[in-house]
């Protein structure tokens, strides 16, 4: 989870490193800790450290962690030579390691030799059938080949065994959304909200999926989850504020002409609109007129 403070720290450090202000190692550590995907920058700065023998030896045993990080970044940038060199160095140091075995499998994946990668992974799974990372790699491999239905199948099998794996639930939800299977995606997001109830991002994603599904009941639930996102973020999430406005106008459209005994509080939308206007005034005054016209059209319909 990346909090606001950590995000600011990352951006500052990134600027500093990009402008040659030093602190490359701290930046790489932060990238690793926050698990963000900055492969090009990791490759550039990590390789600079690895190629500088003085800096490299000052890292001590952290050198191997850096080797792994750079190897993965290099595969992501399709610099397969660099990745191969890093993996060879690791292989020399840890000849029997499963973790290096996984990296070798990933290198085969990056090359596009799927059957060999599959072979490598299944031999690793024979040694340890409950290696979560290898199972996940298989899912990713199916996805990379464009075989989404197989990826879903693998992922469902995986989740039957490792039900507490939030990342896998999230991946499944995202795959379902990409296939427009929103019903199934809501189930995954419900699971995520159950296991991590204070992460606003899951509430927001769940509300988005429900809003996309449509229907009065779903819209009302979506509105509640947008509201809980606002609650958890202190109203600093613009998407949730827009969600409230959209849900209210959609509900109003659906219930138009019916009896007017709705329990919905009318203040919620106006409060969200005021918060939006305030935020736009503060951060993008040029777009304010666009916002007010949008809000006006929502209120009329």
């Amino acid at each position: 989870m990346v909090t606001k403070t950590e995000e600011t720290q990352l951006i500052n450090l990134e600027n500093q490193v990009e402008n040659g202000g030093g602190g490359a190692w701290e930046y790489l550590c932060l990238v690793r800790k926050l698990k963000v995907r900055r492969s090009d920058k990791v490759l550039k700065h990590g390789l600079a450290i690895l190629n500088d023998s003085k800096e490299r030896s000052s890292l001590g045993s952290e050198e191997w962690t850096l080797n792994e990080q750079v190897a993965i970044a290099a595969m992501d940038c399709q610099c397969l030579d660099v990745a191969k060199d890093c993996i060879n160095a690791l292989q020399k140091r840890f000849p029997e390691s499963k973790r290096v075995g996984k990296l070798e499998g990933m290198l085969l994946e990056a090359k596009g030799s799927w059957s060999e990668a599959e072979k490598a992974y299944s031999s690793l799974l024979e040694d340890n059938p409950f290696d979560q990372v290898i199972h996940k790699r298989r899912v990713a491999m199916a996805k990379a080949q464009g075989n989404i239905s197989e990826a879903i199948e693998w992922l469902n099998k995986y989740l039957e065994i490792f039900m507490a794996d939030n990342d896998a639930w999230r991946e499944l939800a995202e795959i379902y959304v990409s296939l427009q299977m929103y019903k199934q995606a809501t189930f995954c997001y419900e699971e995520l909200i159950l296991s991590q109830p204070v992460v606003p991002v899951y509430h927001l994603a769940y509300a988005d999926v429900l809003y996309t599904l449509g229907g009065l009941e779903n819209l009302q639930t979506a509105k509640k989850y947008y509201a809980s996102t606002i609650d958890l973020t202190g109203g600093k999430n613009t998407r949730a504020l827009f969600g409230i406005c959209l849900c209210t106008s959609a509900i109003a459209q659906l219930t138009k002409g019916r009896n007017k005994n709705d329990k919905e509080s009318p203040e919620l939308q106006s409060l969200a609109a005021t918060a939006l206007e305030k935020e736009y005034k503060q951060r993008a005054p040029g777009k304010l007129s666009l916002l007010t016209s949008t809000l006006r059209s929502l209120k009329i319909s």
Partner: protein, 106 residues
């Protein structure tokens, strides 16, 4: 840190001295054969001062308080980590990211 620690030590010493004074006072009462109705006022004042000092030191010395509000800057989650376990490599990076001339030289 230094000041806080010194105040804490002072507070504990005051508490210990108050305890010692009370015992002494009771011993005195036994000799004069009077009833013990309560500690003398200077011991009570000493006790309160010691309490305040120790409490202040205990709150400041160990470190700063962290926010528990979910919407504070330190706790507000703005993005999820990239799902790196599921990362795939056949994407646009092949064309966009240029790392052709990079080499690892050991």
């Amino acid at each position: 840190m230094g000041i806080g620690f010194a105040v804490g030590v002072l507070g504990v010493l005051l508490l210990a001295h108050a305890a010692y004074s009370t015992i002494q006072y009771r011993g005195l009462l036994k000799i004069t054969e009077e009833e013990f109705s309560g500690p003398p006022i200077n011991v009570v004042v000493e006790l309160l001062l010691g309490l305040v000092f120790s409490m202040w030191a205990a709150l400041t010395v160990p470190g700063k308080f962290l926010s528990i509000h979910p919407d504070s800057e330190e706790n507000r989650i703005v993005s999820l980590p990239a799902n790196l376990d599921f990362m795939i490599f056949n994407h646009r990076g092949k064309a966009v990211l240029s790392g052709v001339n990079m080499k690892l030289k050991h």
